[in-house]
């Protein structure tokens, strides 16, 4: 008998193959993600400008302190946090409601399940423009409807009234992203076995308690993941605010602030520092939410 080949060699072959298969993806991500991120961190300690970023000096933490002293930055932070909390809460509640509705055996639910994909799959620009048109102060259908119902006398300038504009941004964001919530929560709902609902039904558990003590706890992981995705997305939101209100102070998000520094004011160093802030704010939020999810999982699993 020939000596058995070391099983290690087979294993080594597989490991080698694995890295070969992974290589293109890894190279792509190193090139377009990790390298630019590292350069952003690097630039944030310099006074580089956009027209010639090869000439610069190191200026230490100066960019960071300058941003921390900028009232506009803190407004942007405030707007972003407010936008994130309100829109994610609304999307979660609405998404949960629609998902529960879609989980019922109702005529027409197939149509709704398809229709729900529309707001999600069209570009944000298009959604923004559609709603801008519908909310137009003179010719918008919403104002027409409100006037027709006698609720207001003159059309409201939704996107031009400073106190309303963040609300409008949130409202449109809810319309755009609720479908995503619905799909994730619906997928979570469908992992709950039918017999569990039947058991509760036979046991005479009232519907509010069925929802509160059975459906909701079993949905928690799905809702948690959906909230995580949406919150991270909302924190870095750029396009909707930018398209609807440009550089309006009331709706400026941290991403818009950073891009202004970087592109409009051509301040690569300062813009990079702002971008770095954005990165760490989002990383912090991610860590917090993931931590909460872990904690939740370990306590409810009852080890």
């Amino acid at each position: 008998m020939t000596p058995k080949p070391a099983s290690g060699s087979l294993q080594r072959k597989e490991v080698f193959a694995a890295w070969i298969f992974l290589a293109p993806a890894l190279i792509a991500l190193l090139l377009v993600a990790f390298w630019p991120l590292a350069r952003t961190f690097y630039f944030s300690f310099t006074n580089a400008t956009l027209d010639d970023p090869s000439i610069y000096d190191f200026i230490g933490w100066l960019n960071f302190t300058e941003i921390a002293r900028d009232a506009q930055w803190w407004r942007a932070v405030g707007n972003t946090v407010l936008f994130t909390i309100v829109s994610v809460v609304l999307e979660t509640l609405l998404g949960l409601g629609i998902a529960l509705l879609l989980n019922q055996a109702l005529p027409g639910r197939g149509a709704l399940r398809a229709a729900i994909l529309i707001p999600w799959s069209i570009p944000v620009v298009v959604s923004a423009k559609i709603w801008e048109w519908m909310l137009h102060d003179q010719f918008g259908i919403i104002n027409n409807l409100l006037i027709g119902l006698g609720l207001v006398e003159h059309g409201i300038a939704w996107t031009a009234t400073p106190s309303l504009v963040l609300g409008v941004v949130i409202f449109i964001d809810v319309w755009i992203t609720t479908p995503f919530m619905v799909l994730l929560i619906l997928a979570g709902l469908q992992t709950i076995p039918e017999e569990i609902h039947e058991a509760a039904l036979v046991d005479g558990v009232p519907s509010w308690k069925r929802f509160w003590s059975i459906t909701l706890p079993m949905l928690r992981p799905a809702i948690g993941v959906a909230v995580l995705f949406r919150a991270l997305d909302a924190m870095r939101m750029f396009d909707l605010s930018y398209i609807l209100a440009g550089n309006n102070e009331r709706t400026m998000t941290i991403s818009i602030y950073a891009r202004n520094q970087l592109i409009s004011f051509q301040e690569t160093g300062l813009g990079s520092a702002a971008s770095t802030w954005v990165f760490f704010v989002i990383a912090l939020v991610a860590v917090l939410i993931i931590g909460a999810l872990r904690l939740d999982r370990s306590t409810t699993a009852g080890r």
Binding site: E195, I196, A199, V202, G204, V205, K209, M218, G302
Partner: protein
């Protein structure tokens, strides 16, 4: 304690009829088992009784009260599900006591009841655990406990043992039989397992394509099947059939004839009712199964206590007592 009666109950989904005009009366305290091939509607029939699925037409009453439109929770029934359907995020104690939480009982009373039932089912040491930490058999006991705690008038079981391995199945079967004896509650039990049906049932209901083929005690179904379907369904290995024409005047005009494998003996050629080629012998230890081709493409199973001492390919004669022969007419019904 309650009787259950179904009057012309039908259920269809669109154009598909699942249950067709079923009439059934279950006496108070009776243990009734629904059997039938998969897709025969037995689980649907159980869900109709439970109120989980609304009837398309017909009436259902429990304890002489019309329950046709009454929601599941108000019918006074409890179900043990195939998947057990335990709440994964609740402890065993809470799983069992959950239905009582909204009944107005205080926490100490609930706890006392749960503990009593857990002790009776020998799961009192598991009360603090979660369902996923339990074995299949233990989960099954919890599911039964959850049903028991509400003191239902009628107990429904939906293939409760089909996720268990053979040993546990036998153990739980005995347990359920004991429960029925102790409680005396009406029980309706769905299964596809003949042994469960034969051992547990006071009466068996054989379903096929949404219709009741026959209702009777296990012995009645085995000895006097009403038709060819029941004859073939009850008994294992299944009954051997042959076209009446092949047996000549013995058929007495019947379209199809049947003999159970255990009723057949190997006999010398001159005494044989039929004879054929021995295709294969299976030694199961306590018995032997012989497969005999009595005509082209008709193979009969013969159940023998001892090894027949014949070679494969040998011609064998098969004989049986006259009363062991079943006769069925063109419509499949048993004829005398």
């Amino acid at each position: 304690m309650a009787s259950v009666s179904l009057n012309q109950v039908s259920k269809s989904y669109g154009a598909v009829d699942i249950i067709r005009a079923v009439d059934l009366a279950i006496a108070d305290g009776e243990f009734v088992v629904f059997v039938g091939p998969s897709g025969c509607g037995k689980s649907t029939l159980l869900r109709l009784i439970a109120g989980l699925v609304p009837v398309s037409s017909g009436d259902i009453s429990i304890a002489d009260e019309d329950m046709t439109e009454v929601p599941a929770s108000k019918r006074g029934i409890a179900i043990v599900f195939q998947s057990y359907a335990l709440y994964p995020h609740m402890t065993i104690a809470r799983n069992i006591g959950f239905a009582l939480e909204t009944s107005g009982l205080g926490k100490p009373e609930i706890k006392a009841k749960v503990t009593d039932i857990a002790r009776m089912l020998k799961i009192d040491h598991l009360l603090g655990r979660y369902p996923r930490q339990l074995s299949g058999g233990q989960r099954q006991r919890v599911a039964i406990g959850r049903a028991l705690v509400r003191q239902p008038k009628v107990f429904l079981f939906d293939e409760p043992l089909s996720n268990l391995d053979t040993d546990l199945r036998a153990e739980m079967r005995v347990e359920i039989a004991r429960l029925h004896e102790e409680l005396g509650t009406t029980m309706v039990y769905v299964t596809h397992d003949q042994i469960e049906a034969m051992t547990l049932a006071d009466r068996i209901v054989v379903l096929n394509e949404g219709r009741i083929e026959q209702i009777g005690t296990p012995q009645e179904l085995y000895r006097q099947p009403a038709n060819q379907f029941v004859a073939g369904f009850i008994g294992s290995p299944r009954m051997n059939f042959v076209a009446g024409a092949l047996l000549g005047e013995k058929a007495r005009g019947a379209t199809t004839l049947g003999v159970r494998p255990e009723a057949i003996r190997l006999v010398p050629a001159e005494e044989a009712h039929v004879s054929g080629t021995l295709l294969r012998l299976e030694d199961l230890g306590h018995e032997h199964l012989a497969y005999v081709e009595i005509a082209r493409d008709i193979t009969w199973t013969v159940r023998l206590a001892a090894h027949p001492d014949r070679e494969r390919g040998a011609m064998v004669g098969l004989g049986w007592a006259e009363e062991a022969l079943y006769r069925f007419g063109t419509d499949g019904r048993a004829v005398a």
